[in-house]
């Protein structure tokens, strides 16, 4: 797996989609990320990341229902594809392996 395929923000967005599905779409994701990180996240940035992820084949999308707040416009719902899930778990595995190699003493010093 090429690590450069998945940027840090993309990874977070991809995770958010997985966490919020079914029914993950950009506004929800942006709000969720804002809440989780405390930084402001624009739908534009999320939307762009979603587009890129879809292009890479980690996500797929379909049009959902329209609501009144949206002015009668439909939302685009995203779900993680099998490829996307595999990539996520690989990234996680790499991290875990590295975490596990950190000497417990050092971890203690951080906390």
């Amino acid at each position: 797996m090429r690590r450069s395929d998945l940027g840090e923000f993309e990874e977070v967005v991809l995770l958010a989609v997985a966490a919020l599905s079914p029914g993950a779409y950009s506004v929800l994701i942006a709000e969720e990320l804002e809440r989780e990180t405390g930084n402001s996240v624009s739908t534009g940035a999320v939307h762009a990341a979603l587009q890129r992820l879809e292009q890479k084949g980690y996500l797929r999308s379909e049009l959902g229902e329209a609501t009144a707040e949206r002015g009668g416009r439909r939302k685009r719902l995203f779900t993680v594809t099998a490829l996307g899930g595999r990539v996520l778990s690989e990234v996680r595995a790499v991290r875990n392996r590295l975490w596990d190699r950190i000497i417990p003493n050092i971890r203690l010093e951080w906390s």
């Binding site: 739908t43 534009g44 762009a48 009144a68 949206r70």
Partner: protein
């Protein structure tokens, strides 16, 4: 109550965001806005909304999605346009021919004029220092006011280099005449200049033999042109060691040949065959070193920095202006600068002090205007025919629009058609121009040719094609592409008629415009021809017919009266007179003093030295007193001689012709009495009014010409042959040069004659082209109204009434054009005639003639079509419906 996000932000987003993402993006934004209003309040939500919108300014959202359907390659659409264009071209052969021939004529005229103007513009530009060369010229104070003269004193040039750091180099150029000889060969130089050695450094005249750095720096060196070298040394002069050879000058002067110069380019105001050093002149002519004699052109080469900065240049000119005063305290003359680029086209100097080749910017402008007028008329034709025939293309436009053509596509199609047509016309015009070049050269007095090997020419031609096709195509393209498919395709006659009618006003004003231009040109040529005829027939106050002049050269100038006695005996010679001038444009004027002169009263009088036979030879008339006489010794006395004056001179000095007799006058030294007053005669072109004139009778002074009146019925060839023999007897060295006074007088108006002919030809062309357009329009109207004419005929209309019906509309336009053209032409021609002190009046019949002519031609053009339409069998035109 739902809150509405800022509309402007939405508008912005809708504008930049790709359409296929709009729904998504706007939905997200609005939903989040609603959330934020609840959480943060409207004001802060609005601010965040703007930030969010701006966050979408990324290439991913701006980039438009490629169309889902395959775009047909642009070429296939172009091919369709091209096919259709060719089909319409071939389907309407008549219209196509009218259009392309008219346009080709216009373009050919425009190109011919362009070549002419370019040729004039190119003069003197071959000098590398073109922008830095100036001529120092003078405002000269004379008895009758200030005059501009091109000549300056000889000692001026060295002071300029000394006193002004801005001046890099100077050249003085003087004019001289004489013969040059090598061994037995003698040749007379038409153009002989006296120059400083810097001549070759300031100007780009190069030497093919000899050293340009050193040539003419010693007083006995001479440089000749290639032409002159060929005349002196034969055709293979280049192979001979001619540099350093001794060249005889006139009688007994000898020069060493220091160089052979390349023939000066045709497009140079300086022309020469022989160059003599200024140093030689300083030795032989003391006037060349005096401040109070103006005889030389002074050119300066400015330092590069100065020529670029106009402020510095103005400062330098201000300093220069008083230069004469520094060296000659009693002078009131001032100096100013004339750039080299102005010398050829914009020189206006008095007393014939500018002797280089010259042209006139006025005539360049006239030609330019005329060329553009013809082109304009041709372009108008094109626009007219294209819009008139719009109904034929209307269905096509309708169909194209219905199957999805955009307006821009249709505009491109019609612009392309006009480009095609224009290219065709340009090709035809090239052929036309190539074949008519000799005619145009004859008209313009130049030797132009199409610069077919110049890439710049083709580039200019390409530019012209583009501009013309835009001009011709823009209006029809927008007019045609504006049709609404629903209206056009409904096919009712009414809606079609409507769409054609909408451009009618416009077309009519175009026709009026083009006809008024053409008629104005026609009136112009009538006036010019009247003025030329007036000049030709004008009684000049002397009889110029059968009057020959012979130039006196060398010592013959002092022996003229001996030659005269020989010539008088020749068969066929009626009268002979020795004079200083040949009666063509005499400008030798000076101050005069007279009896009863008031202190501050002064004027310049033109003068001529003649003998007692002058009056009878030229046929001038006495208004009072008597002629000079050989038998009265006091007439030629040095203490109290005799003068003849003209009526204007008598009037200027306050006398009637009778009172003038016996009055004392002092002119050029000697005192004398007025013995007779001659009736006024024209001694200058008719552009200027008659001024005071004085005749002297000084047989001991040189005579420069001999006037010979041939007897009635005598052959002038035999007289000339006899004259030549007699002349050679007295003056074997220089060539026998003669001419006819009437021809030379006529030649003074060559520019006007040339202009007259060019305007005549162009006005004929422009009327022709306008009529081509009218012909097309008439044919179109007749075709449109075929059914109407059929019905009228069935109901009993006569042929005559139908012809009137069809022609009336067009003739109305031509009449309006005449009304518009008259004041325009009157104004322009009045301006032109102001140049002449003696001129014809612009009379009503000139307008009437031009108007009648154009109405007749227009009527013929239109009636050809209307008669054809009126004669048509109604059964045929009404059969199909």
């Amino acid at each position: 109550m739902p809150h509405i996000p800022p509309r402007l932000a939405d508008r912005l987003l809708t504008w930049f965001c790709a359409p296929h993402l709009r729904e998504d993006v706007l939905g997200d934004l609005h939903e989040r806005y609603a959330l934020r209003v609840k959480r943060l309040g409207e004001t802060r939500a609005n601010g965040r909304y703007w930030l969010d919108v701006l966050a979408y300014v990324r290439p991913e959202f701006i980039k438009r999605k490629p169309s889902e359907y395959a775009n047909p390659a642009m070429t296939s659409m172009l091919r369709s346009y091209l096919t259709i264009a060719f089909r319409t071209l071939l389907k309407n052969k008549g219209y196509s021919a009218i259009n392309s021939i008219g346009l080709a004529l216009g373009i050919a005229c425009c190109m011919a004029i362009g070549l002419y103007v370019f040729d004039e513009w190119q003069y003197d530009r071959f000098h590398a220092n073109f922008n830095r060369i100036y001529r120092v010229v003078e405002h000269q104070k004379q008895a009758d006011g200030m005059h501009n003269v091109a000549v300056t004193p000889g000692p001026l040039a060295p002071t300029l280099t000394n006193d002004f750091p801005e001046v890099e180099q100077t050249v003085r150029i003087g004019r001289w005449s004489g013969t040059v000889g090598y061994k037995q060969t003698v040749a007379e130089a038409t153009e002989m200049l006296i120059v400083d050695p810097s001549f070759f450094r300031v100007f780009d005249f190069s030497l093919v033999a000899g050293n340009a750095q050193k040539a003419l720096s010693s007083p006995n060196e001479i440089v000749i042109s290639e032409r002159m070298a060929e005349r002196l040394f034969g055709p293979n002069w280049a192979q001979q060691p001619i540099i350093g050879q001794s060249i005889d000058f006139t009688k007994d002067d000898h020069f060493t040949l220091a160089g052979v110069a390349k023939n000066p380019p045709v497009r140079s105001h300086l022309q020469f065959d022989v160059l003599l050093p200024y140093k030689w002149l300083e030795k032989t002519d003391e006037w060349s070193q005096k401040w109070n004699s103006n005889s030389y052109h002074t050119y300066i080469l400015l330092k590069p920095a100065l020529a670029d900065a106009s402020a510095d240049l103005a400062r330098f000119e201000a300093k220069l202006s008083g230069q004469l005063k520094h060296y000659q305290s009693d002078t009131e003359n001032t100096l100013y600068l004339q750039p080299l680029r102005d010398i050829y086209l914009r020189s206006v100097f008095d007393f014939q002090t500018d002797w280089g080749q010259r042209s006139d910017i006025l005539y360049v402008r006239i030609f330019l205007a005329v060329g553009f007028i013809v082109l304009l008329i041709a372009i108008v034709n094109f626009i007219n025919l294209a819009t008139a025939r719009a109904s034929q293309r209307a269905r096509e436009v309708g169909v194209r629009k219905t199957v999805g053509a955009k307006r821009s596509g249709i505009v491109i199609q019609f612009l392309g058609e006009s480009l095609l047509m224009t290219s065709l016309a340009v090709a035809i015009s090239l052929v036309l121009l190539q074949t008519s070049m000799p005619l145009f050269n004859d008209l313009s007095g130049k030797s132009l040719e199409l610069p077919l090997h110049e890439p710049m020419f083709w580039l200019a031609l390409f530019g012209l094609t583009l501009v013309v096709s835009l001009l011709t195509g823009l209006y029809p393209a927008f007019f045609l592409s504006s049709f609404r498919p629903v209206q056009v395709l409904k096919g009712t006659v009414n809606s079609l008629g409507l769409s054609v009618k909408s451009g009618r006003r416009f077309r009519q004003s175009l026709v009026v415009g083009q006809f008024s231009l053409a008629i104005a040109l026609a009136i112009g040529s009538v006036v010019i021809y009247r003025q030329l005829a007036f000049i030709q027939d004008k009684k000049l106050g002397f009889d110029q017919s059968k009057l020959l002049y012979v130039r006196m050269k060398g010592d013959l100038r002092f022996n003229a009266l001996r030659l005269k006695r020989e010539v008088e005996k020749l068969p066929g010679v009626a009268r002979v007179s020795a004079t200083t001038s040949d009666l063509v444009d005499i400008t030798n004027s000076s101050n005069i003093e007279w009896e009863g002169q008031q202190p501050n009263d002064a004027f310049l009088i033109t003068n001529m030295n003649v003998d007692a036979d002058f009056v009878s030879t030229t046929g001038m008339q006495l208004a009072a007193g008597r002629n000079f006489s050989w038998r009265i010794p006091s007439d030629t006395s040095a203490t109290m001689g005799a003068f003849l004056i003209n009526e204007t001179a008598a009037k200027r000095m306050g006398w009637t012709p009778e009172q003038a007799i016996g009055k004392r006058i002092r002119f050029w030294g000697p005192l004398g009495r007025v013995v007779g007053v001659l009736k006024d005669f024209h001694f200058r072109p008719l552009r200027v009014s008659i001024e005071p004139f004085l005749f002297r009778f000084r047989p001991d002074n040189p005579y420069f010409n001999m006037l010979v009146k041939t007897a009635p019925g005598a052959s002038s060839e035999r007289v000339i042959a006899g004259l030549s023999v007699a002349y050679k007897k007295f003056e074997p060295v220089s060539s026998f040069q003669y001419g006819f006074v009437d021809q030379d007088l006529d030649a003074q108006y060559r520019v006007e004659q040339r202009t007259g002919r060019i305007i005549l030809y162009f006005s004929i062309l422009s009327i022709f082209v306008s009529c081509l357009g009218l012909f097309g329009l008439a044919a179109f109207t007749a075709e449109q109204r075929t059914k109407e004419i059929g019905v009228r005929k069935v109901l009993g209309a006569s042929v005559a009434s139908i012809v009137t019906l069809l022609s009336k509309d067009f003739l109305k336009l031509v009449f309006v054009a005449i009304v518009l053209a008259c004041p325009m032409a009157w104004y322009a021609m009045n301006r032109w005639l102001q140049d002449f002190a003696y001129r014809v009046d612009i009379e009503w019949w000139m307008f009437a003639l031009a108007g009648l002519l154009s109405v007749t031609v227009a009527l013929l053009t239109v009636s050809f079509q209307s008669v054809k339409a009126a004669l048509m069998n109604p059964a045929k035109s009404l059969r199909s419906e």
